[in-house]
Amino acid sequence: MSMTTETASAGFAARPGSSLERIRVRRLAKNFGALEVFRDVNFDLGEREIVTIVGPSGCGKTTLLRCIDGLLPVDEGEIWCGREQITEPIAGVAMVFQHFGLFPWKTVYDNVAYGLRMAGVSAAELAERVPQFIKLVGLGGFEHAYPWQMSGGMQQRCGLARALAIEPSVLLMDEPFAAVDAQTREILQFELLRIWETRPTSMIFVTHSIEEAVLMGDRVFVLKGRPSNIAKVVDIDLPRPRSRETLRAARFTELRELVWSTLMKEAREAEFHLER
């Protein structure tokens, strides 16, 4: 029985040539009551790899990340982070939320310190480490500002610093820049790439923007609808470090079109899929 499932899942999305995997997802299924969100999802996330996920609205991208973060119980299958099976939030995984999720009653400093404090880090060590991460995301000087005094871009910088501060081996990003304006979004994309170059972690990055998916990712997963699954994996062979130059490369345009046409095909099939 288990043999057959092993072979059946042999075709899962693994990065070619990757030996170490940070996250291993096998035969994952999740339902909300009668709603089957996804079924039989299999993939590996490599060490220092960035996987970006695109897919139609409501196909379960946020749900997938919440499962991987241990926030939601899964109905079938397993999620592993190294040797640890994820059933609850674990120390090595941190999430950056679309809604920022900053505590309005805490200053930037206290928000960034939150994860570390929950992990039992001493105040002395906080005083040393927290300012580093505040500076890393470009918020130096705003330690004592409250979230409601800051722009959306600054708030998400703070959310990013909070996640980075616990030095996770895996970062989960749920449309982190969807709630900020286009210019800020672009700034933040390149900031994130810069930060990643200095401290590369594995990352799963959900986005609605095909351009962002191609710019950030080593691989792009295109999800298809209900119950959803990984319809296609596009390898992004653009060199790193990536910068604004990357956006002008012919290869970038090619890959963007490839992801776009895949997504459109899935979207059209979904649109003309008759409910029975």
Binding site: A94, Y114, F142, Y146, W148, M150, I187
Partner: protein, 278 residues
Amino acid sequence: MSAVNEAPAGAATVGQRPTAAAKKDRPPIWQRSAFYRYGFLIVILLLWEILGPLVNPIFFSYPSKIAVAFVNLTLSGELIYYLLQSLQVLFYGLSFAIVIGIPLAVLMARVKPVDWALELPVNALYATPMVALVPILVLWFGIYMTAKIIVVFLFAVFPILINTYQGVRECDKNLLEVARSFRSSEWQTWKEVLLPFAVPYIAAGIRLAIGRGLVGMVIAEFYTTISGLGYMITRYANIFEMDKTFVPVILLMFLGVTLTALLKRLERRIAPWSRADT
């Protein structure tokens, strides 16, 4: 680089208070709220002063006479003496209401069985006119401090309990998920998320509790030993010294208004974000 580009735009908003309206071009006096607020008060006092003396002094009094009584009662130390007794009862009653009401509310809001068990009794007691219980409580707990503190507690605890419960239940689900994602324990979640979120609700509850607590305090003092402002009222009313009867009444009014205003100010200090999203 880009960080520096973006920062100044946000920097301008930091520390900027919306209340910093220009002081120069204030509207003419008949358009200002203060004019009507204090003007009306003065009119009332004037009418009272003029018409008051026309009534038999056995039943009524008027501002200037009350003011004289106030000064006399203050100088003799009598007013302070009874006020301190009342404040003591109020302080302990409210403190117990806060210390018991808030944790119990969070517990109810977070632990389903506790909620199921206590929902009915809490709502029933909240709906009961507490005044009806006072004679019974006096019978049970005697006529000294303990009984009065229990009465104030019972008057005050329900608004705190119910408001806190509401605040915790309405806590932002996203923030609770963030807390879980960063591996907060249940107790840390209380301390870091639920209680801070509920601060505006708790403050509103305490404001209501002060008003109800004052009522409870006076009623308890009517029923029990010779102490407090409530006793002062009954004593002077019984000997028809109306000017002296009005002094504690007005002091109580003043007490309620002052405590509530103080709390409002405190609330703005400790929960500035609640002002930000209104």
